[in-house]
Amino acid sequence: PLDPASSLPQSFLLKCLEQVRKIQSDSAALQEKLCATYKLCHPEELVLLGHFLGIPRTPLSGCPSQTLQLAGCLSQLHSGLFLYHGLLQALAGISPELAPTVDMLQLDVADFATTIWQQMEDLGVAPALQPTQGTMPTFTSAFQRRAGGVLVISHLQSFLKLAYRVLRYLAQP
């Protein structure tokens, strides 16, 4: 298995940290707007709805420092971002006011996934084929798209929090 510290270029880690911070700031902006405009401020009020809508969460089990296997961690990071990109796409039509923020977030998540994939290719650990998107939840009302938005962003923030911690650990000189 790859030795985590030496095999990842510092510039890659610094770029990832920058991209995580950007996505976190985009996400916070979207959370604020969902709360201000639609009074949907607490994801915990929507957990049950999340079950019914089938909004998935993604683990980063291969990443915590004790059990870190780099290839597995990068792969989970990539598939998580790939999933969130799909979930954000499923929110299309959420509302004219939120659309620009969701679009920006989607582009930033896609770019971050590309950065990870490119590094996996450079390390020779990238699978032959790019992953394909699984079935996405379907939102049948404006409310479900907004509630889905609150839940997706909340899950994404937790995912990014762990990712940031791992990247900081890897970037330590």
């Binding site: 639609y38 949907l40 009020e45 049950l48 709805l49 009302s141």
Partner: protein, 308 residues
């Protein structure tokens, strides 16, 4: 779909009642899920939901908000799940008033943009998205040859009809329609001829350069010349001059009618050795029109009186 709210009406008159029902389908059951349907208006729980179990096992709760006096609020249908209130559906409620009749409709023909700009008083706030549309026909008598609707931008109480829709020297009828979810209202009709409501831009007012003068102006006199606003050269017009000595709260003195164009005009009867502020405006004349605004001020000083 697990929970679904239906409303008697998503938009009501402020103070009217609203009835909502929420249906929770059977496939929503979960361990720890309390089947009692709870309602929240904004962040506040709303008592008074009447719940019943339908033959197919579906739970339905109905609630009536007797006097809905928020202009906007979210109504949520919730269930308690392991001591945590869960929102299953949410509907946006809005309340306001039907639009009042727009009044004080007036129009000005603008020769810079060559468009007819009409404005109106929208009336009291309706609290609802309200669309104002300027409607017009190319004649006051027959309602034929309608002109394309001119829809005012959100929150604006004016709209401009483009030159290509206008017959400048024929009368046209114009009115405003206001429309929102609770109703429509229409202003009285205005019958006007676009060019007869033309408002010109002010003329250009200059002092005559003393150095060019054979003889300096008399004490208490000033030499001026002015030119009408270029795009209105084809419009015959008359003008007015007003002047005011810069001495405390002096009043304006009006001179007119004056021709639209002079090479040189001597204004006399003023105080010698005094600074004056002068402005001019013009109006289409003898054909009808509106006075232009006053031109920017020109500041001039009259000559000293020569000691005898």
């Amino acid at each position: 779909e697990c929970g679904h709210i239906s409303l008697s009406a998503p938009i009501v008159r402020l103070g009217d009642s609203v009835t909502a029902s929420c249906v929770i389908s059977q496939n929503c059951s979960r361990p720890g899920l309390d089947s009692r349907i709870l309602w929240k208006l904004g962040a506040e729980l709303q008592p008074g939901g009447r719940q019943r179990r339908l033959p197919d096992g579906t739970q339905e709760s109905t609630i009536t908000l007797p006097h809905f006096n928020h202009t906007q609020a979210f109504l949520s249908c919730c269930l308690n799940w392991a001591n945590s209130l869960q929102i299953l559906d949410q509907a946006e409620l809005r309340a306001g008033y039907p639009p009042a009749i727009p009044h004080n409709l007036s129009c000005l023909m603008n020769l810079t943009t060559y468009s007819l700009t009409c404005q109106w008083e929208p009336g009291p706030e309706t609290h609802l998205p309200t669309r104002f549309t300027l409607k017009s026909f190319q004649s006051c008598q027959t309602q034929k040859d309608s002109i394309p609707d001119c829809v005012a931008e959100d929150g604006q109480s004016h709209c401009s009809i483009l030159r290509k829709h206008l017959i400048l020297y024929q009368n046209m009828s114009i009115w405003v329609q206001a429309e929102n979810a609770l109703g429509t209202s229409v202003s009285p009709q205005l019958c006007l001829i676009p060019m007869d409501v033309v408002k010109l831009e002010p003329p250009m007012l200059w002092t005559v350069d003393p150095s060019h003068e054979a003889a300096p102006p008399q004490p208490g006199c000033l030499r001026l010349h002015w030119e009408p606003w270029k795009p209105s050269l084809h419009v015959s017009q008359k003008c007015e001059l007003r002047h005011q000595p810069q001495l405390g709260a002096a009043n304006w003195t009006l001179e007119g009618p004056l021709p639209a164009k002079t090479l040189q005009y001597e204004l006399c009867g003023l105080l010698p050795a005094t600074a004056y502020t002068l402005q001019m405006r013009c109006i289409r004349w003898p054909l009808p029109g509106h006075w232009s605004n006053w031109s920017p001020s020109v500041k001039l000083r009259t000559a000293e009186r020569v000691p005898i």
